[in-house]
Symmetry: C2
């Protein structure tokens, strides 16, 4: 696959400029560009600048208003409910997470339930903002429908990620950032491009029965049928715990849409605004003891996990967040690698808006 | 299988009496008996009165002191750190969860990190205590080691359950109460008794490679080898998301042992006290809006999930907590069904302590 290597700063400035051309005010373009480029820098291309296209479609479809500012609709010492007013996800999320952190600074913990927002990028970026202040952070979001509940066949829930960051005394915090579905849809597309069957446990057909043919699944997924879709972690039925993954996905929708009185996944992208809902939280470590001691204790646990016996053929146990942090270090040093399709997308934007190409 | 039907009250009183004979003060025996009998009433026999045997072993092994009272070692407006002083899990947990709820009443949210406790029974019983006060509740615990991380072979983590309860306007709250491992060990034992192979995705051998023979696995699991054990939700490797389940299990240990400065799963049941650690939380619904409106919105979401299309051959999508709530209603009406082994265990206790048998 052809690719282009681009510097972090260069890519951020270019993306910011394109977002401005798409109608984002400069401050909104800046935070959104950083969120997209950070994902690319961490090797999460699925949440990177390739999303510019989707972000533009959200504006054109009336789902996102790049100029809108979020408003606080309810506030208590430990919590805030925010209406995103259909603004862009990163702007709404930065606003919401900053309030969680402020509340945690003041009273020990802070939570934000957010309705009427949009795609917020990598969940990890929001949760980890708390870490620098010696707080644990959390971020959840519902998404466009793609997944079916245990014993169901209809797409009614999203990938509904769970993200929790816990500070450690090591180089990087513990940063769990996971879709509650077995895989995100991008993985099916990779298998399709490679002409490869996917494993059972990823997806079901219109009858809610496991399927492995990626081409057939793609046809179904993009058809008008409301049935067939992704499975939650644990797969089909209950034998491998699919009901647990489904429970986690549903929990995310109850936290995001339930507490904010917003739309749950089934009703996103129908009507004005996408209606995406989030939930954020921050809890100060020093509620529980000296932060440095806790961080050293956490790192001690992580070290024992790293040093535990490896499975045959394996030489490393990865702590969550390590791979992405290592990719980021490499990207800052060597530049960010864009795949051919993304490089082409950016070149088209440059031409269209008469912006100097990368 | 032979079984005995016993009334809830009768079983609670009997269990309380046996616990008193084992050295529990009356108040400690009472809360512990209720916790065990509640699990049986809900069809969770794995956490029911059959555990009396394990609870007795914990006393004899020096892991649990039935007379110990928990103490607060640190407190802030939103959080408390509790030392269980090796007391019994239900006593320590009732103390901790009550403090979370009190704090939530006062300031909106409350959290408790607990070290040096013991087995606390069904996690759901603690999380749901918040629901009656229009709060969401959460409960986590580490456990004796049984599970291996992704790409590992060594048993270093427990079943590490996650439990979150969210109030709804329906008959029962949303109550997700799940081991983060694919299955708990009791399920392997059921398959062994039925002379049945288990599916891939439950367990790995000493080399960290998936295995299906339950008899071989049982031998390995109870041997002195530190390797081989249960897999986390998502199974072996990363194809079906095993790293996500592992991340959830590790998260539970960081919340419980990390924040309480307690022992993580690897070091439980070694030395004085089992060292089991918990984490609890409660957040008031009215932080986010009118509790009744939120509960109706939550129930509306759950109803749409229930009414979504069913997979072929299925006629119901279960919301988490429904099955257990329905079993409880039946148990209160018709009595609790004990299996033969449990009935025998109780008969032996009755004989040994000269207590009137059931």
């Amino acid at each position: 696959m052809d690719s282009r290597i681009v510097g972090y700063g260069e890519l951020q400035r270019f993306t910011r400029r394109i977002l401005e051309c798409l109608g984002y005010p400069p401050a909104h373009a800046d935070v959104t560009a950083t969120v997209l480029v950070e994902a690319d820098a961490r090797g999460m291309a699925s949440h990177g600048v390739a999303r510019l296209d989707f972000y533009e479609k959200n504006i054109k479809g009336g789902f996102a208003d790049p100029k809108a500012e979020p408003t606080v609709v309810r506030e208590t010492p430990v919590a805030v409910v925010i209406d995103g007013n259909n603004g862009v996800g990163p702007v709404v999320s930065e606003f919401a997470m900053a309030r969680c952190i402020e509340k945690a600074e003041k009273v020990g913990a802070g939570f934000a339930a957010v309705r009427n927002s949009n795609h917020f990028g990598m969940a990890g970026l929001w949760a980890e903002k708390a870490v620098a202040r010696d707080q644990m952070g959390m971020a959840f979001t519902n998404t466009r429908i793609c997944s079916v509940p245990t014993f169901g066949s209809q797409r009614i829930l999203g990938t509904n990620p769970i993200c929790v960051a816990i500070p450690s005394a090591g180089k990087v915090p513990f940063l769990l950032d996971m879709a509650t579905t077995t895989v995100a849809h991008g993985k099916v597309e990779v298998y399709e491009r490679r002409d490869k069957d996917m494993p059972l446990g990823w997806c079901v057909d219109e009858k809610g029965i496991g399927m492995t043919d990626t081409k057939d699944f793609q046809k179904l997924f993009w058809s008008k049928s409301p049935d067939g879709g992704h499975l939650f972690l644990g797969g089909e039925g209950e034998d491998l715990g699919g009901h647990k993954g489904f429970g986690l996905g549903l929990l995310v929708d109850l936290l995001c849409a339930g507490l904010s009185m917003g739309r749950w996944s089934l009703h996103t992208f129908s009507g004005k605004g996408s209606g995406i809902a989030h939930f954020f939280g921050a809890i100060r470590l020093d509620n529980f003891g000296d932060p440095q001691e806790i961080k050293e204790h956490v790192e001690g646990i992580l070290d024992e996990v790293r040093n535990s016996h490896k499975a045959e053929g394996q030489d490393r146990i990865f702590i969550h967040g390590e791979r992405e942090a290592e990719a980021r270090v490499k990207s800052l040093k060597d530049g960010i690698e864009l795949d051919e399709a993304t490089a082409e997308l950016l070149a088209k934007y440059a031409e269209r808006f008469k912006v100097k190409p990368l």
